[in-house]
Subunit: 237 residues, 6 copies
Amino acid sequence: MRSFQRGVLDLRPVTLTPGVSRHAEGSAQVEFGHTRVLVTCSVEERVPPHLMGKGTGWVTAEYGMLPRSTHTRSPREAAKGKQSGRTMEIQRLIGRSMRAAVDLAAMGPRTFTLDCDVIQADGGTRTASITGAYVALVLAMRNLNSRGVMSKMPKLTPLAAVSVGVVGGEVRVDLDYEEDSSADVDLNLVATGDGRIVEVQGTAEHKLFDRKMLDSMLDGGLAAIQKLTEAQAKVLG
Amino acid sequence: MRSFQRGVLDLRPVTLTPGVSRHAEGSAQVEFGHTRVLVTCSVEERVPPHLMGKGTGWVTAEYGMLPRSTHTRSPREAAKGKQSGRTMEIQRLIGRSMRAAVDLAAMGPRTFTLDCDVIQADGGTRTASITGAYVALVLAMRNLNSRGVMSKMPKLTPLAAVSVGVVGGEVRVDLDYEEDSSADVDLNLVATGDGRIVEVQGTAEHKLFDRKMLDSMLDGGLAAIQKLTEAQAKVLG
Amino acid sequence: MRSFQRGVLDLRPVTLTPGVSRHAEGSAQVEFGHTRVLVTCSVEERVPPHLMGKGTGWVTAEYGMLPRSTHTRSPREAAKGKQSGRTMEIQRLIGRSMRAAVDLAAMGPRTFTLDCDVIQADGGTRTASITGAYVALVLAMRNLNSRGVMSKMPKLTPLAAVSVGVVGGEVRVDLDYEEDSSADVDLNLVATGDGRIVEVQGTAEHKLFDRKMLDSMLDGGLAAIQKLTEAQAKVLG
Amino acid sequence: MRSFQRGVLDLRPVTLTPGVSRHAEGSAQVEFGHTRVLVTCSVEERVPPHLMGKGTGWVTAEYGMLPRSTHTRSPREAAKGKQSGRTMEIQRLIGRSMRAAVDLAAMGPRTFTLDCDVIQADGGTRTASITGAYVALVLAMRNLNSRGVMSKMPKLTPLAAVSVGVVGGEVRVDLDYEEDSSADVDLNLVATGDGRIVEVQGTAEHKLFDRKMLDSMLDGGLAAIQKLTEAQAKVLG
Amino acid sequence: MRSFQRGVLDLRPVTLTPGVSRHAEGSAQVEFGHTRVLVTCSVEERVPPHLMGKGTGWVTAEYGMLPRSTHTRSPREAAKGKQSGRTMEIQRLIGRSMRAAVDLAAMGPRTFTLDCDVIQADGGTRTASITGAYVALVLAMRNLNSRGVMSKMPKLTPLAAVSVGVVGGEVRVDLDYEEDSSADVDLNLVATGDGRIVEVQGTAEHKLFDRKMLDSMLDGGLAAIQKLTEAQAKVLG
Amino acid sequence: MRSFQRGVLDLRPVTLTPGVSRHAEGSAQVEFGHTRVLVTCSVEERVPPHLMGKGTGWVTAEYGMLPRSTHTRSPREAAKGKQSGRTMEIQRLIGRSMRAAVDLAAMGPRTFTLDCDVIQADGGTRTASITGAYVALVLAMRNLNSRGVMSKMPKLTPLAAVSVGVVGGEVRVDLDYEEDSSADVDLNLVATGDGRIVEVQGTAEHKLFDRKMLDSMLDGGLAAIQKLTEAQAKVLG
């Protein structure tokens, strides 16, 4: 039986709490079951060097896990003096996904930084981060727009993310840590509510997978993402 | 008027929420007004090299701020590749304070690591961290004791911490960020509920201070710490 | 017209040169058009800490670009003192792929390290690296086997990798740097010659993509990989 | 019996040697018994970014120990690639103390850097550093003033520092290494000759301390500091 | 017998292959027997800060070894996060030598960076690097000159480098790895074809050496360098 | 006229002060004119991994400059987080020279670390370091021998070092900073009193040099080194 008494294609209980930070221009706490991520969106009125003078904006992301967000304590990356390859890979994924969600040319020469910090981890921290980051990004843009800093909202493409895996030959959506550890295939999907794909990253952890299996995983993942974008829409009003 | 309509020697509303982490042996969220710190206590069955074979245990602490816990975003220390002097100073203070709270020789050859991560900052993050860390430490010890891992609870010395400052010639307790920025003197005090001092660190930020002013600050600080240890006792049962 | 006068689903000229290093247990130089990667496989008779005493072996990879392998010089990572997120992401991908190519439990408690160093870059350095790394890995295993160090060859799963992109609405295989820079979608595929997938990583660079487009990219990619595994088989005899 | 046949509230023999560097704008060697610190004051005609355009100056400090200044050799921080938390804490303390000694607004937009390098350590290196740094700072200012670079001397507040400890229940001033290692309480005090406090940092190393004990420590420390400021005045003429 | 059946004062077979990189302004692969180094010369239209506004140019070098260029794999410096002392020493030597080869004042305010990457090592990697770097540097300058970027070729001083050692009491030129490991004296010489010295670095590895031995080493080294500069001249036309 | 009214082949006033550290097993302060270096020799009863179990000992060196030992302040390497190439090059030179001075096989499985810290720099810091390090090394060995830790003194080869330069066409010995900055050729020589060479490193800074010039420099350098070894002998008794 899966955690939360759910079926193989069901999400864990999803909670999106907007506006959890007093300081950030936009913020959201996102929970996928016991996985809990705090996302803040910070805005700076400048762009990276390669975009200077082009009029376009930039969206970037950073990701971190609190040392004891995990089952056993992981060393603090700040203390080790470097970010792991996994951290870099995840924050690059979140950044690319968020840049696909917004018309960079229309948001003015400013940078939106999405900090995704994992408070508690139980599988799916990167997909929860992306799902929450979209909310925090939109809230930050509305904040700037309402304060007259950004005169017009740029075009937005609502998107979310979910993990899909093959466990015991069976396609499952939104894996928790225990399922994730034993999955034969692990796939992370970022997509829009209407089924257009932003990112697909599938890895054969213990068994290779064929096209048919990939199709089943995509079916399950896209259906779950539709539900996640509905949850985002409800929160964003 | 001070935030939360309080008097010069009053604390901000204090909330101590125990058991906020599914994974950590002990944990607590502590709020001093808008300052919010998540503390987890992780236990490892080994000690640092200099204590090996001595039978004694160790308590240490790490401290971090989420990048947007502050009014404007601060660069992530993990991305910069090093911890600031301020971070190191604070985590050394927390570690020393917690070692004063427990009989190291009686807790067995194990290490308790207190991770204090600032979710939201509004002044007093180090004093809130210490106050919450004591709770998380005790909960972790009870956890080990109840599971039979640590057969006997070591002797504990309840302690807490508060900031005191001189603002406009007036002694104030538990300063928020705005007060802290304009204080002439900044003092951090760690002590027991019955007035024994663990640490005192006073700094003349803009004006030197005399013995009489120091005495007033200590009076105010120790009274506030008594209230904090009462709040800890209530939470710890 | 594409470089090398090829069709949209054609590979660039592929050259696999085995045994290019006097020192390494296995080695190969791989060229995909003007992209040239030197792969060496080094063997150590020990395993990482988490595998000690389990009898199983390990395969890992490192990736680097010579500073002027690129159109304009990139700073040397050794001089900067850290590897970029892109480097880490690529070497993690190569390592995972190679671990899928071999039965780790049957290769003895030893580590095979695949160093993939890009001598000249013109798009597709990660896919060329994987394709060459498989050759270097097999050669290193044969070397150990022929010298009696590894008594039995472990089971091998021949695999290769190729990039696929959407350029101007058209699916193209094995993109060079210029095509890669203007592609709307960028997909890297690692698979076996008979169409089983090891890794799929697709990214919407400028345009989202639907299931039909993904199917076309997978069709093109898998067909190309079949040709690459044939080239590997020819070289490996 | 204490080292140098002194009473519990006596300083070790103190030597302040001004002008020990041919290159620095100001310099002093300070000895507290066997503790020997070389302090240089370097002046740059620029200020840190956060002060640019404000007309005010800046004073900062760096601290280091030669590897064999200590009883057993400590690893060189430059070779380890980072400064310890202790080093950072001490140099932050010295910097704050020196900024309290001078009117920053009146010294022009320039930076004074105090390098305190411990040649030989026997307890009290931070307090010796502060005591010597004040001398080096004043000498550097006089140097600039006499050369017409700084037209007017800024207002100076003479200050010095001393350690105080509780050893065997007894308050002692200016602890050497052996006393420091066995002290129950360790307090560092920075103050002016007339008893105004700049910094007070007291730590319960093995036993908590009460207000009465703190008062005794402050009495002893302030009396010693008065003697140190007299020694400074003698050297500075 | 020496490798390649050569006499004590003979070079190993030397191969200089110009133009091996599609991207670099100048490049050469150099082989001294089994030692193989790829040198690229990259040009930037700017100079280091200390030369800004002086009209003069700059030549610098970086050096690296592929992890498995050596007999046993060496850790990748980019992964370790720092360059070894040996690497720094060698790249400083190459840079100084190349600056001696060209009139910096006449080459315009631009920087030529010589990247010397060791593909395969068998002794003499620094001398091969210098010998190849001269070729790459000249080719880059001709490239700029022919494209009209640098209107006039600066004055060039052809130079090359060779190692000399004392093995078993006998002076030998151009040592391979095995000879190098057992040499009593190790000397690296950088000079012009007509015998003027740019750098001489001699080290007593196991036996001190007298003036007479030094003279024999210089005789052998300078004769070999004459042959190397002839090989360079042939390649450069 | 040269500093200290000396002839072109004369040394600056040389002072060797033994036993300047209370803690180190051996120590010496060395002055070549205004250049002043503090050398300590620390002994550990263990050897680096590559020498374990071989019975032989090891001698190594580290070098550092106090930030304001130079004319203008140099950034502290510990604060920058890495040692410069120059630092590494110099400490490698000192270490090699000291290993040539002693029979490693006869000194037991222990490590002697020579810390050479430049208190004040005026040219020739590396040659002064080597000259002083020999004294500190011998004193440390005598210390161990007299305490019975090392039962027999290993064979020692007295050696010293000096810089030689060509300034205005004239060979000069022991250059100060000003001469060094304008020298056409810069040569550092490490040798024994009887003229056997340990290290020779000559660099054409602005003009190439021929064999005859090299001979003159060696003549001058070796004569000066003879005087330095006499000074060492006097101090060592």
